[in-house]
Symmetry: C2
Subunit: 322 residues, 2 copies
C-alpha cells in the first residue's frame, strides 16, 4: 500500500479531519492553513510517545490513539487555550490495516471529544513512535503561563491525583484486577480527559497554571521556578480518588499523587477571592496549599511541619509535558 | 543529565530560539504562543526523518540538523508563507553531548538563515529520529496550494533538478569523489536552500505550487490531481546542473531530475504573462512544460511525442513532503 493511500485511508476520514473552528485548509497540501480570529494567539505544543519508553510495545492501538491525543491536548488546557487542530507523525514498523484502523478510531474518538481536527502529518517506516503537535487559540495576553504566581495565592488542583501512576501496575500486566476500582484507574490512564473548560474558565483568574504530567511536586517546581516563589503543599489536602485509596495503602496512594505523574489534571495558583466562582462550576477543584515568598516546593504535614518528599516524578529521558 | 537540562543546554540557546517575527512566548511553558498579524493565516507542516530510512545512522549531526530543518521549511516556501517558528521532537538512543552540540549548531545555522525560531519540543530516549513541525504566516487567501492550475498556464521549476538524487551514491559512501562537482551535489543534498523568497514572490501570480521532494513527475502528479488538469513536461527543458551532467551520463542525470526526489525546489504553474517579472528576479526559473485540459502527467520528447517516464519517485513508506 502506498504511503498516500495509507494516510488517506485511515486519517483523512471526515470524522477526524473536521474539528476545531479555524481550519482553513486541512490534509493534502504542502501545509495546512489555520485562520484565527484577529488578536488571538496560537498555542503550540509537541509531544513524542515512544514504544517501550512511554507505552508497552503491545499496547492496544485504540487506547494508544486515545491517550496520545489526550496527553497533548492537556497542554492546551494548561494554557487556557481552545483546541483547533493537530498534526500526527507516525512511525510504524509495518503498515497493518487492523492496527491502523483501531489506532485511528481511538485517536478520532478523542479528537471529536475535544473538538480538534487532524490537519496533517507524516507516516514513516521505523520503530513505533508518535509525535503529535497540537494547536489552540487564546485571546492575546490571556494565556495561562507558569510565571505569574504571587505570594498569597492559593495552590489548587483540578481533581484527584495519582490515578495514572496507580494504574501502571495494571497497564504493565504486573497486577491482574477486574474490579470496578481497577477499571476506573485504567480508564484514567488510557483516556485522561484534558481539562479544557476549566483551563479556559481560569483565564483572567489563575496567576499560573500547568498540567501535571511529571508528578505534582515536580510540576509545582516548574511554577515555583518560573514565578520565583515558594509553593507550600499540604499533604493531607491532596485529593485522592476512592478507587486509588481502595486498591492501595494510604501511603502508596499519596506517593502516587505527589510523585507519580501521568495525571493530566491542571495545577494552578489563584487569588483567594476567585476560588468560590471556580468551585461553583468545578466542585472537584481542591485547594492543596499556598504561595509564599521564597523558592522551591515544600511538603507540609497537618501540623505545618515540613515532610521529606517521596522520590521525584518519573524523570525519563524526555518529558511528555515539556 | 536530566531532560530539562538537556533541552536547555542545547536548544534554548538564544541563537536558535530567536527568529521569526511573531513569537510571543518561546520554549519553557506548556505551550509556545505565536501572534500573527490580524488576517494572516498560519501555515503548518510536519515531517519525520528516521535513521536508516531517511538518513544514514552515522550521518554527520551538523549536516543532519541543517538538512532536517531545510526540508521542513521548504514546505512553507511551497505555500508562499514567511517562516515564523518550529518545534523539534528528537528521539535519541543516548544523550551524547558532542552529537547534540553539533546537531544543534547545524539546526540553528539553518534556522538563522531562514529567520525561523525554535519554540518548543520534546527529547526522548529511543531509536534515532526527528520530527519537525514548522509554522509560517501568509495573508489570508494568498497561500499557494496545489489546486489552482489552469489550462494554458506554464509549468515552471525554481532551478536545476536532480542534484539531491545524484548526491545519494556519495552520501551513502558507495562512491568516493572529492571533485568540486561532487562537493556541489553534497552541498545541495545536505543544505538545500528553501526557496522562501521565490515562494512569497509567487503569491497572487502562481496558480499552483509545491516543493519537489518525491521527484518532479510524482510531484507534478499531485498538482494534476488537485487541479484536475494534465501537466505536459518537456524532457529537454528540465534544467540540470553542470555538476550533475559532469559526473553522470545525460540519461542518468535526467532520470535523477525526473524521478529522483530530494530537490526542494519549487514547481509551480503560472500564467504566461507573469513569467517575465519572475524571471527578472529569478533568472534560474525555468519553463519546463504547460498545463492542458485532461489529467495526469505526460513526459514529452523534443518532437512532442510522449515518452515512457522513468521509474516513479522514491516511494518510501512515508513521505517527507506529505
Amino acid at each position: 500500500m502506498g504511503e498516500f493511500e495509507l494516510i488517506r485511508r485511515f486519517f483523512a476520514s471526515a470524522a477526524c479531519a473536521t474539528g476545531g473552528e479555524g481550519i482553513a485548509l486541512g490534509i493534502g497540501d504542502d501545509c495546512a492553513l489555520l485562520q484565527l480570529p484577529p488578536f488571538d494567539q496560537l498555542a503550540v505544543s509537541t509531544d513524542s510517545l515512544v514504544a517501550g519508553v512511554h507505552f508497552p510495545l503491545d499496547a492496544d492501538p485504540y487506547l494508544l490513539g486515545q491517550r496520545a491525543l489526550a496527553v497533548s491536548v492537556s497542554d492546551l488546557a494548561a494554557m487556557g487555550a481552545a483546541p483547533v487542530a493537530f498534526t500526527l507523525a507516525l512511525t510504524l514498523p509495518e503498515a497493518r490495516a487492523d492496527w491502523l484502523e483501531a489506532f485511528a478510531n481511538g485517536l478520532c474518538a478523542m479528537a471529536r471529544g475535544c473538538g480538534i481536527g487532524l490537519v496533517g502529518g507524516d507516516t514513516t517506516r521505523g520503530p513505533l513512535s508518535l509525535t503529535l503537535t497540537v494547536f489552540g487559540r487564546v485571546p492575546a495576553g490571556q494565556a495561562l503561563t507558569r510565571a505569574g504566581a504571587r505570594p498569597g495565592d492559593l495552590l489548587c488542583v483540578g481533581g484527584s491525583l495519582g490515578d495514572g501512576a496507580g494504574a501502571l501496575p495494571l497497564v504493565l500486566g504486573e497486577r491482574q484486577d477486574n474490579s470496578a476500582q481497577a477499571q476506573y484507574l485504567l480508564q484514567r490512564y488510557w483516556a485522561p480527559q484534558p481539562q479544557l473548560d476549566l483551563g479556559q474558565a481560569l483565564r483572567g483568574l489563575a496567576t499560573a497554571a500547568l498540567d501535571i504530567s511529571d508528578g505534582l511536586l515536580a510540576d509545582c517546581g516548574h511554577i515555583a521556578r518560573a514565578s520565583k516563589v515558594a509553593l507550600l503543599v499540604d499533604a493531607a489536602r491532596v485529593p485522592l480518588s476512592a478507587a486509588l485509596e481502595g486498591l492501595f495503602s494510604r501511603e502508596f496512594a499519596l506517593n502516587c499523587a505527589l510523585a507519580g505523574g501521568d495525571d493530566y489534571r491542571l495545577a494552578f495558583t489563584l487569588p483567594a477571592d476567585a476560588l468560590a466562582s471556580i468551585q461553583a462550576d468545578w466542585p472537584e477543584v481542591a485547594v492543596i496549599g499556598r504561595v509564599e515568598a521564597g523558592q522551591g516546593v515544600h511538603l507540609l504535614d497537618a501540623s505545618g511541619a515540613e515532610l521529606q518528599p517521596p522520590a521525584l516524578g518519573y524523570q525519563h529521558f524526555g518529558s511528555q509535558g515539556d
